[in-house]
């Protein structure tokens, strides 16, 4: 039986424009491109699931096909869905460990010194490549010794003095790997007279979706939706400093996981859009010149959400920032994709164009909104990569 609710692929006119702009298809012949893996073969798959082609596993879900599509087909969603609906699932410890960020993160932060030390040993990485198929050359993010949540519990009281509030969905990366971004974020909003509330949250589900743990992703989504729904009043904005987390909360929950997120949809905003609106209301904090030349890289998922204009606008408001906007290219890492041996070379090849343009920009620092883009760029170029909010925190006149 053909499910009539899922026939958006019927709008595909076979123009192949998506395949032109697919970074994976450009890097490897192993991936036949979004048109073929998405709308073309979907009509075969819905008739007979046996007709699924393994090659669709190469899709990195960067969503550039959806940006390019003149006919508004949700190509990447089709492929993601087909990947887990039709392909045979094999249990891989690696995929489990990379996608269950909450579980791994909460353990790793407890023994962070040990973990960070072990992960820096080539012998450990050698065995990881051999047994887990995690390439040795891939640089892993470090773990914090203290989670953002536990830090926040310590300063929670100070937030009650603010009359205006925002809910901060910090995500796993801030919680376990880079709590300084979360702290910067609190500093910036506090300087603008806005207090922060941190909800009970679980991983947004992006790595779970990417690794086929859809059931667990749905469970997390249900938890997050209900937790975010009940915290504070209906008009408090829920902000996120991760472009991919906000994309999941806003779009993937509904489109891919089939969850009802209407109650939080209009409240969830990526941080730069939130800041843009507050700046418009005259709430911009006092800033001092940063005197930096920086190159800005727009992450794919932020571009898909249409959020890039807000980040650029925000950056333009930071005094003393000499900004070079890089031509929009995928960095290649695509979350956990670039951490897997089978995709590592593809991921590196995709990023080459971006790395070259960063070199040409002659900047002192690179700015990007996405945590994994940061990992990829820091590994492949000599530059430090920071989040727009951290740069804003640096500019605060305090």
């Amino acid at each position: 039986m053909i499910k009539l609710e899922n026939i958006s692929f019927d709008y595909c006119i076979k123009c192949t424009v998506c395949t032109i702009y697919c970074p994976v298809a450009r890097a490897t012949h192993l991936f036949p491109g979004p048109k073929q893996s998405g709308p073309d073969t979907e009509r075969l798959r819905i008739k007979n699931p046996e007709l699924v082609d393994e090659s669709l596993k190469y899709c990195s879900n960067c969503k550039r096909c959806e940006i390019a599509c003149p006919s508004n087909v949700k190509i990447a969603d089709l492929i993601q869905d087909a990947k887990w609906r039709y392909l045979k699932k094999k249990f891989r410890f690696r995929d489990y460990f990379m996608s269950h960020t909450d579980l791994v993160g909460s353990i790793a932060t407890k023994v962070s010194a040990l973990i960070n030390f072990f992960m820096s040993l080539s012998i450990v990485r050698f065995f990881m490549e051999m047994f887990l198929r995690i390439p040795m050359r891939r640089v892993f993010p470090k773990y914090n010794s203290r989670t953002f949540q536990s830090w926040f519990r310590g300063i929670k009281k100070s937030q009650s003095s603010f009359s205006k509030k925002a809910v901060y969905f910090h995500g796993c990366y801030v919680n376990y790997n880079n709590s300084s971004l979360g702290k910067d974020m609190v500093r910036v909003l506090n300087a603008m007279g806005i207090g922060i509330e941190v909800p009970d949250e679980k991983c947004c589900g992006v790595p779970l979706i990417a690794n086929g743990y859809l059931k667990k992703a749905r469970k997390n989504a249900a938890f997050n939706i209900s937790s975010l729904q009940t915290i504070l009043s209906d008009d408090t904005t829920i902000i996120s400093t991760s472009s991919s987390c906000s994309f999941a909360l806003k779009y993937e929950y509904a489109h891919l996981l089939g969850m009802d997120n209407t109650k939080i949809f209009n409240r969830v905003e990526y941080i730069t859009k939130y800041l843009y609106n507050r700046f418009q209301e005259g709430m911009a904090p006092k800033m001092k010149p940063v005197n930096l030349r920086a190159a800005y890289h727009a992450p794919c998922h932020l571009e898909r959400m249409g959020g890039v204009i807000y980040t650029i606008d925000l950056l333009k408001k930071i005094p003393g920032l000499d900004l070079v906007i890089l031509h929009s290219e995928c960095c290649g890492i695509a979350g956990t994709y670039g951490f897997k041996k089978e995709y590592y070379d593809i991921s590196q090849k995709i990023g080459q164009e971006l790395f070259r343009s960063i070199e040409r920009a002659e900047a002192e620092i690179v700015i990007t909104d996405c945590e994994t883009c940061k990992m990829q760029i820091e590994m492949n170029t000599p530059y430090e990569v920071i989040h727009p909010v951290s740069l804003l925190a640096k500019a605060l006149d305090q």
């Binding site: 123009c15 192949t16 032109i20 012949h29 003149p70 006919s71 031509h327």
Partner: protein, 433 residues
């Protein structure tokens, strides 16, 4: 977000308009839902190609002069001759700044060859399609080779040759056909059905295989002066690769536009977007305007799919969403409408009057002339007949012209995009004084 000028649509008209506005120092945004119809175009810009009886127009400007006096509703008449000429000079110059040189046969049309081997009159073409050297070489009645790549299914040299020989220009020329084998073909053979012009073009964005291909072209052409091939000479590195091929082969490698995606069209898209970004324009890709509010004859704000309740505002707006193919106009069973603001259309509502009974009718189909009705300043009207003062329409969304029958789609897009930009710049200057 506040702009001086916000353009809805991202094709030829929108980019021309955006470049002019951004270049004049206006804060300009372009919102484009998906890639534009340039990806499906020949990569040549037609100004005016055919009389109503299908005879060829050789002097497009003379013909446009006549059209302007005969049909005051035609978009060309809204622009006026001086603006059209200025727009063409501007476009050539800006494309060149974006890295793409365009060539024209002074004031006259020249011809380019289609995939099926028919010849089409046009005004601007890229270096591999028309330039003074090609014109001179063609005068000498040269031998011509039509070559394709082994396994490429979007160009058939024998069919193209047979059609070419029907034309009086080519009737007495020797035309041979042949094939070139890509050095890395075995790698792509896994997906022959996905072997499109873009796959070949990508290979030629680098110089890696160029000597090998040049040798093969030379051999397969058997002494011909021209080698007509499906467009393949890359996108970002086109000028250099073309020059290298010319040096290595001594032959004019002539590019023929193929089925979508069209390499020649994408080159224009790439050059214009590059130029727009260089001038500080903001290109917002992959988003769609879902509506806007017209208050007292002026468009106050628009909102988009991605930005939800956040309003985008501008002093002036341009509607350049294209025709039916690009989604600027939509049709239901017995209804036609403009997609974004439901503006007043020039059209007939009864379905059976939309089309001609014959698909390839010489008169074309009536629906192709449907589009937004505007005043002389390119301002559209709401359904109750009120003009929208700060909204301009440009390109294929306009009515009262027949892009295919007249062979003028590109020219109208460039001219109206440019004309709209001029009006916006004037309006911004007077309002800020």
């Amino acid at each position: 977000m506040n702009y001086d000028c916000l353009i809805i649509g991202g094709g030829l008209a929108a980019l021309t308009c955006g470049i002019k506005c951004a270049g004049s120092g206006l804060r300009t945004g372009i919102i484009s839902g998906g890639m534009s119809a340039l990806h499906f175009s020949s990569g040549s810009i037609d100004l005016y190609g055919y009389e109503d009886d299908r005879t060829i127009v050789y002097q497009p400007f003379e013909k446009i002069e006549k059209i302007i006096s005969q049909n005051p509703l035609h978009p060309y008449a809204r622009c006026g001759m001086a603006i059209i000429q200025e727009a063409m000079r501007f476009f050539k110059n800006e494309a060149s700044c974006g890295g793409l040189e365009l060539y024209h046969n002074e004031e006259s049309n020249h011809f380019h060859v289609s995939t099926l081997g028919t010849i089409k009159p046009t005004y601007f073409s890229q270096r591999s399609v028309f330039n003074e050297d090609i014109k001179e070489a063609f005068r000498q009645r040269p031998k011509i080779a039509l070559l394709s790549f082994a396994g490429f299914r979007d160009f058939f040299p024998k069919l193209a040759a047979a059609n070419l020989q029907k034309s009086s220009l080519f009737r007495h020329l020797e035309i041979i056909t042949g094939e070139v084998i890509l050095p890395m073909y075995s790698k792509t053979a896994r997906n022959p059905h996905e072997f499109r012009s873009i796959d070949i073009a990508r290979i030629f964005d680098s110089e890696r295989y160029i000597t090998n291909i040049a040798e093969q072209i030379k051999k397969a052409s058997q002494g011909a002066v021209f080698a007509g091939m499906p467009a393949f000479i890359g996108i970002t590195n086109y000028n250099k690769i073309y020059r290298r091929l010319r040096e290595l082969t001594g032959i004019f490698v002539y590019e023929i536009p193929t089925l979508p995606p069209s390499i020649l069209g994408m080159r224009i898209d790439d050059a214009l977007k590059r130029r727009f970004a260089e001038l500080g324009g903001e290109f917002i890709a992959g988003d769609r305007i879902v509506g806007g509010e017209i208050i007292d004859g002026s468009l106050d704000h628009v909102h988009t799919e991605n930005h939800g309740t956040t309003r985008l505002r501008a002093r002036s707006y341009v509607l350049a969403t294209g025709s039916f193919f690009s989604g600027g106009l939509t049709s239901g069973f017995n209804i036609l409408r403009e997609s974004v603001f439901n503006l007043k259309l020039f059209c007939q509502q009864e379905r059976n009057t939309w089309y001609s009974p014959r698909f390839l009718s010489t008169g074309g189909h009536p629906f192709l002339a449907f589009g937004v009705e505007t005043d002389d300043n390119l301002h559209p009207f709401t359904q109750d007949g009120k003009t929208v003062e700060n909204l301009f329409c440009a390109g294929a969304v306009l009515g009262h012209y027949r892009p295919i029958v007249e062979g003028c789609g590109g020219g109208v897009a460039v001219s109206t995009g440019y004309a709209a930009a001029k009006k916006i710049i004037d309006a911004c200057r007077t309002s800020s004084q």
